[in-house]
């Protein structure tokens, strides 16, 4: 029994080694870049950390930021598990948010819990249907989802611009910028921790994580998806319907992203403004990659990325480093995680020994 425990700790350490080293390396390089640009990396990182983890309120912000990107991370991950590269979470977020805003502003007779539930369900379905389209195009025409999902991002973005400038515009607002009507009080996610702005979207994200784990590893459907994702030929040989599973995986992926949009809308933004949800989808890709498309990994890395974006403002305030520098950090983290051979200790040893022989 003891052995088993030690083994578990060991395998956890092995699994955590690469992400941790990658994150450290990214911070070092980002620090060097800041230094070169004439900022103090020490002040910047101090601001970043205190702004994201310094107190209870900061923790609330971090978790709030983590909720939508955990969901978009799941979106990338479930498609990837089935062999589809979903770069379209960005658009699926907007599809979900748009559906949520329609239900959340137009339906005014439901009590809060029901209204919230209905809004979430509709957002899931909206994102899911939007996500399924690239899968259908891939099945039908062999169109690469790398390109189609990205094109659907732009189409969704401009469609939302169109909607908030006309059909769902808030004409009562005096703002110069186009924006949608605000969510009704019954369709807003309640705060769940006094002294913070942490909202109930956290429960949605946790439920989605559990659902992801369950469907992939405990159902025959998830088994089929994983087989196809790892070896499509073997899937066909076993009689697994590739097309159907591909659509299903993108349907769920779109649904997750749609929920991400809905949570951000119902808990934080409360209305859609131009470009307000930009970047959630791509953050999700980073989160999924960093987390190795696993449940625990996505949960942990979404909190990390949540912390990066919630701390960015304080970083700018304390050190003058622009908030966008956080993207540099994110890009570096992905590069180092994917290029993890760089940090392979055994390989380093071998090269070192080979060098000694010569």
């Amino acid at each position: 029994m003891e052995d088993n425990k030690a083994g578990k700790v060991r395998s956890f350490l092995i699994a955590a080694y690469y992400p941790i080293v990658s994150i450290l390396a990214s911070f070092v390089i980002a620090g060097i870049i800041m230094q070169v640009l004439g900022f103090s990396p020490y002040e910047a990182f101090k601001g970043l950390i205190s702004g994201s983890l310094g107190n209870k309120r900061a923790w609330g912000e971090t978790l709030n930021k983590a909720v939508p990107i955990a969901l978009t991370g799941l979106s990338y991950a479930i498609a990837k598990r089935c062999g589809v590269i979903n770069l379209g979470a960005e658009g699926q977020v907007y599809a979900g948010a748009l559906c949520a805003v329609l239900v959340g502003t137009e339906i005014d007779f439901l009590p809060a819990p029901l209204h919230i539930l209905l809004t979430l369900i509709v957002a899931f379905i909206g994102g899911a249907l939007y996500g399924a389209i690239p899968a259908i195009l891939k099945n039908r025409f062999g169109a690469s989802e790398l390109i189609t999902t990205i094109m659907f991002n732009y189409i969704a973005l401009y469609f939302v611009h169109f909607m908030i400038a006309g059909p769902i515009k808030d004409y009562s607002s005096t703002s110069n910028f186009a924006q949608s009507k605000a969510m009704l009080v019954t369709a807003r996610l309640p705060r769940i921790l006094p002294g913070t702005r942490l909202h109930a979207g956290l429960f949605v994200a946790v439920a989605a994580l559990l659902f992801f784990q369950f469907i992939l590893f405990h159902t025959t459907r998830g088994y089929e998806m994983r087989v196809i994702g790892l070896n499509q030929n073997a899937g066909e040989y076993a009689g697994i319907n590739v097309h159907k599973n591909r659509i299903l995986s993108m349907f769920i992926a779109g649904g997750f992203a749609g929920l991400g949009g809905a949570c951000e809308l119902m808990g934080v933004q409360l209305r859609i403004m131009e470009n307000a949800f930009n970047g959630l989808g791509f953050d999700g890709i980073a989160v999924a990659l960093l987390g190795g498309n696993t449940t625990g990994g996505i949960a942990a890395s979404s909190i990390l990325f949540g912390a990066l974006s919630s701390g960015a403002n304080k970083m700018q305030m304390k050190s003058g480093v622009p908030t966008a520098t956080v993207y540099i950090l994110q890009g570096l983290v992905i590069l180092f995680v994917i290029g993890k051979r760089l940090f392979d200790i055994r390989r380093m040893k071998r090269t070192a020994m080979g060098g000694a022989v010569k």
């Binding site: 590269i85 094109m151 520098t325 993207y327 994110q330």
Partner: protein, 303 residues
């Protein structure tokens, strides 16, 4: 009427040029088996560096050179991780795009401090006599970069079909192992094609920020890099194919502007979608006919 047609032509060519330049770079790297969605980030990076270079040196030409060289350097990150570390090309491409957006926003705010300074852009170069032709005369009043792009088409076609260099690129993309056995370095071939494609996408980006407009804005590439990927597929991986495909996209974008001017009653946001919809239709319609190189997207591990 003639004036409208003429300006429509000019706008088509100007819109097609960045796709053509980036697409010609992709002719090399895509045929060598590289699927690079990071091209979007390369162009964004080039667009900023061109502007910054022009701002610092006061010369558009130096701006373009700085864009080319710095984007080439930037593309080395992609090459290193995909070729030497065998990392997934799509994932590295996605990381490049995030990195590029972070770097360009940060630098943009530091260099230009939120202002839009006057920079020198690409001036149009009138070709004597030809510029006087009716309707198409306007095609000979374009910038140097624009002419360069069109001249490069037969050059690239020649290199790809008639030289050892081109044959090696095709062989590496189709069967890296076989290329290796006849003494062709797969690594080096992929490296230089990526660097070349980086240099050309840097120029393409610089053309967008210095040829089409005279400033850098943070989301200005908005999918043109992905469209360049669609162009290469639509163009069947050949130089002349890329030319036709980018002209089709050019027509689409020119049409979009024309319709916006014409007051058709269609909201401009819907018209803005047009190029993206064209891209969608293109990748759906073309895929069954052309096929990419057999080793597309796969790292080559020699051991």
């Amino acid at each position: 009427m003639i004036e409208t047609l003429s300006s429509f032509l000019s706008s088509t060519v100007r819109m097609a040029t960045p796709l053509l330049i980036a697409g010609l770079g992709l002719v090399f790297s895509a045929n060598a088996g590289i699927v690079n969605i990071g091209i979007e980030g390369f162009m964004l990076f080039g667009a900023l560096m061109g502007c910054a270079g022009s701002y610092w040196t006061g010369s558009a030409l130096f701006g373009a050179l700085i864009a080319i060289l710095s984007t080439m350097l930037f593309s080395a990150i992609f090459a290193y991780f995909t070729i030497n570390q065998y990392a997934d090309q799509t994932v590295v491409g996605a990381a490049i795009n995030i990195l590029a957006s972070g770097i360009t926003i940060t630098l943009n705010r530091l260099v230009f401090e939120g202002k839009v300074p006057a920079i020198s852009g690409f001036e149009s170069l009138h070709i004597p006599f030809l510029e006087k032709l009716p309707i198409i005369g306007i095609l000979f009043q374009q910038s140097l970069v624009c002419y360069l792009a069109f001249v490069l088409v037969p050059v690239v076609a020649y290199v790809m079909r008639k030289t050892h260099l081109g044959l090696q690129v095709l062989a590496v993309g189709e069967n890296p192992r076989a290329s290796d056995t006849v003494g062709i370095s797969v690594k080096w071939t992929r490296w230089w094609t990526i660097l070349l494609s980086g240099a050309l996408s840097g120029l393409a980006g610089a053309f967008m920020s210095m040829g089409q407009v005279r400033f850098f804005s943070e989301g200005m590439i908005s999918g043109k890099g992905y469209m360049a990927l669609a162009v290469i597929v639509l163009g069947g991986y050949t130089a002349f194919g890329v030319l036709w495909a980018s002209l089709i996209f050019g027509v689409g974008m020119a049409l979009q502007f024309r319709l916006q001017v014409l007051n058709t009653g269609i909201p401009y946001q819907i018209l803005t979608m047009l190029p993206y919809v064209i891209t969608l239709v293109a990748v759906c319609g073309v895929n069954s006919k052309t096929r990419g190189p057999a080793s597309s997207g796969e790292p080559y591990i020699k051991e």
